[in-house]
């Protein structure tokens, strides 16, 4: 009897995946035998399903391990099974159910396995979504290295990672190195947004003149209006705030700054 392959269909990696009661299902395909469940059951007792077609075998496995949420890593493993057996992924419902449709999405799933291990796992845990794999797939080697290092050094949140991948993609023509260097990244962004960076640095300096009140803009400087907030817990706070409201010269400087930068 040919040896049973217990790896190909193990897309769902469950610990202690065996049963003391039920025998595993094994599917014969040509000369080979594939176990479809209870992968830690290593025995010669099994239920043979040689009447199954390729799609039946895969669907059995998907139904058996049906979970509410399927991870990107699992979807990539399922796609690998499709490739192994020349199954059309559009015939497998789980992909569409998880927003994976079309050639680019399938290619992105295939690409997932080529990612740096830490990056792949991080994207999986943070549930980043297939569109970010699609972006990574199209980046050059040096940009991928930067993202790998960013993940390794910063252990970013999902949102920070999304923003960073988007940043690398958007500014790719201006990033020529292959090392994550926060200062370099900031200087590249600043260079492309010089007017905004200059203005915001100067505005920030003027904001530092206030400690009891906060002075800010609420519409991304589309209008020159300022929002001034004061938090008062006692009369001392009250007088401190009043004094700062009277810093006429600072307010004038702020409005002059906005005028110089065409915001006002």
């Amino acid at each position: 009897m040919s040896q049973i392959d217990r790896k190909t269909f193990r897309w769902y990696k469950r610990k202690d995946d065996f049963s003391e009661i039920y025998e595993p299902v094994v599917w014969r395909y040509g000369e080979k035998m594939y176990q479809l469940n209870y992968f830690d059951n290593i025995s010669n007792q099994f239920i043979l399903k040689d009447s199954y077609g390729k799609i039946d075998a895969l669907n059995f496995s998907l139904e058996f391990y049906r979970a509410e949420e399927v991870t990107l890593s699992q979807l990539a493993s399922i796609y690998k099974i499709c490739k192994t057996f020349a199954i059309n992924p559009s015939d497998i419902k789980i992909f569409e159910e998880n927003g994976i449709k079309g050639d680019d999405a399938y290619e992105s799933l295939e690409y997932y396995d080529k990612l740096n291990e830490l990056t792949a796992e991080y994207i999986n845990i943070k549930k980043l979504g297939i569109k970010y794999i699609s972006i990574l797939k199209k980046l050059k080697e040096n940009h991928l290295k930067i993202i790998d290092q960013f993940i390794d050094k910063k252990k970013p949140s999902a949102s920070d990672l999304r923003n960073f991948i988007n940043f690398i993609k958007d500014y790719k023509n201006y990033i020529n190195n292959d090392t994550f260097d926060e200062n370099l990244i900031n200087s590249i962004r600043k260079k492309r947004n010089l007017l905004q960076s200059d203005f915001q640095e100067k505005f920030k300096e003027l904001q530092k003149n206030f400690h009891s009140i906060t002075v800010d803009n609420i519409n991304n400087f589309e209008k020159c209006s300022l929002k001034v907030i004061s938090e008062i817990s006692n009369m001392e706070d009250y007088f401190a705030s009043l004094r700062e409201f009277q810093k006429k010269e600072i307010f004038e400087e702020i409005f002059n700054l906005m005028k110089r930068y065409d915001i006002y």
Partner: protein, 340 residues
């Protein structure tokens, strides 16, 4: 490929294609065709064919009206709103010619209007197939209350030379070559568009130009000034009806579409802020700089052409042009057509 849906099987376009030996296929329903820009779908359905150009109350807009006889475009511009707005890639063409004609005539009875195509499609790109100019221009030639604009990024103008230019403006969107090549896939080059505009002016057409969207790039000033200088060298000021200028702005969901679809695009390599109508725009200081660069160079060379900003804040109008055009109806009165 051209597909004619059952609803349009006895319509205007079937007759046109038969007369001109343009091949097509009949289908029962649009679900039968591949959703691709390479496909044209002729259909007939109830629609509001003539309506106001989508404006925003937070920024100054004119009172332009649009005709939506076609939805979809064969060009592939990275910044195009159609990618986020339409739910199909194929080019949908409405075979409801009588409804379209009636809508235009009804509008004409209500007063003076500027009307045009090119909002959800390119006006000229497919004219050698659809020949909508043959339908629209004779209607417009007879109206005294409508100025009709065909807005385009193509140089497909030959059919225009078979028609009467009365009440017609042909407008060309322009960006420097370096931007057009990267961001306006399959469109004619800006040089070709300007040459086409020149041919049209020699024939007697009024032309206009839309510097929209202005896209920030390395050597922005030099690139746009060189483009403008080429324009000034080739077109007579007296033939130009108006010019519009506006910077790149987009609905937030367009960013992901651009990232996934356009590998070579540079258009998102800037900080964008969420502006008052929830569209993403360049930071105001940069925007003013870009608008000033283009506007002042136009004024230096073409001082009589009416030039306006599309969807911009009134403070920017006041700062650069020294006036605020006001709300839509008031803004419209600044157009030469309205004053004539």
């Amino acid at each position: 490929m051209i597909y004619i849906e059952k609803s349009a099987e006895h319509g205007h376009f079937r007759k046109l294609f038969d007369e001109n030996e343009i091949p097509y296929e009949f289908i029962e329903d649009k679900s039968e065709i591949e959703d691709s820009k390479k496909n044209i779908l002729i259909t007939s359905q109830k629609n509001r064919f003539v309506h106001s150009c989508p404006a925003t109350k937070e920024y100054r807009c004119c009172n332009y009206m649009v005709v939506d006889a076609v939805e979809g475009c064969p060009f592939d511009c990275s910044y195009c709103i159609l990618q986020a707005y339409l739910n199909h890639n194929y080019i949908k063409v409405y075979d409801d010619m009588e409804s379209i004609r009636e809508s235009i005539l009804d509008l004409s009875k209500k007063g003076k209007f500027r009307l045009g195509t090119g909002e959800l499609s390119d006006s000229l790109a497919l004219d050698h197939i659809l020949r909508l100019l043959d339908f629209i221009i004779p209607i417009i030639n007879k109206q005294e209350n409508i100025q009709f604009e065909f807005k385009t990024k193509s140089s497909n103008i030959s059919n225009l030379l078979n028609h009467n230019p009365k009440n017609i403006v042909v407008s060309f969107s322009l960006n420097p070559e370096i931007i057009s090549k990267r961001e306006e896939l399959f469109a004619s080059s800006p040089i070709e568009r300007i040459k086409a505009a020149k041919t049209l002016t020699e024939y007697g057409y009024r032309v206009s130009f839309h510097f929209d969207p202005l896209i920030y790039c390395d050597n922005f000033e030099e690139e746009y000034i060189n483009l403008l200088d080429y324009l000034f060298d080739n077109i007579e000021q007296s033939s130009v009806e108006f010019i519009s200028i506006s910077t790149f702005r987009f609905v937030p969901e367009l960013a992901d579409i651009i990232r996934n679809k356009f590998d070579n695009s540079d258009i998102l390599a800037n900080n964008f802020i969420k502006s008052m109508d929830n569209k993403m725009r360049y930071f105001k200081t940069l925007r003013v700089h870009m608008l000033k660069t283009v506007y002042y160079h136009i004024k230096k060379n073409w001082d009589t052409v009416f030039t306006y900003f599309c969807m911009e804040d009134r403070s920017i109008w006041e700062k650069i042009m020294n006036y605020d055009p006001g709300d839509r109806e008031n803004f419209e009165k600044y157009f030469k057509w309205y004053r004539s």
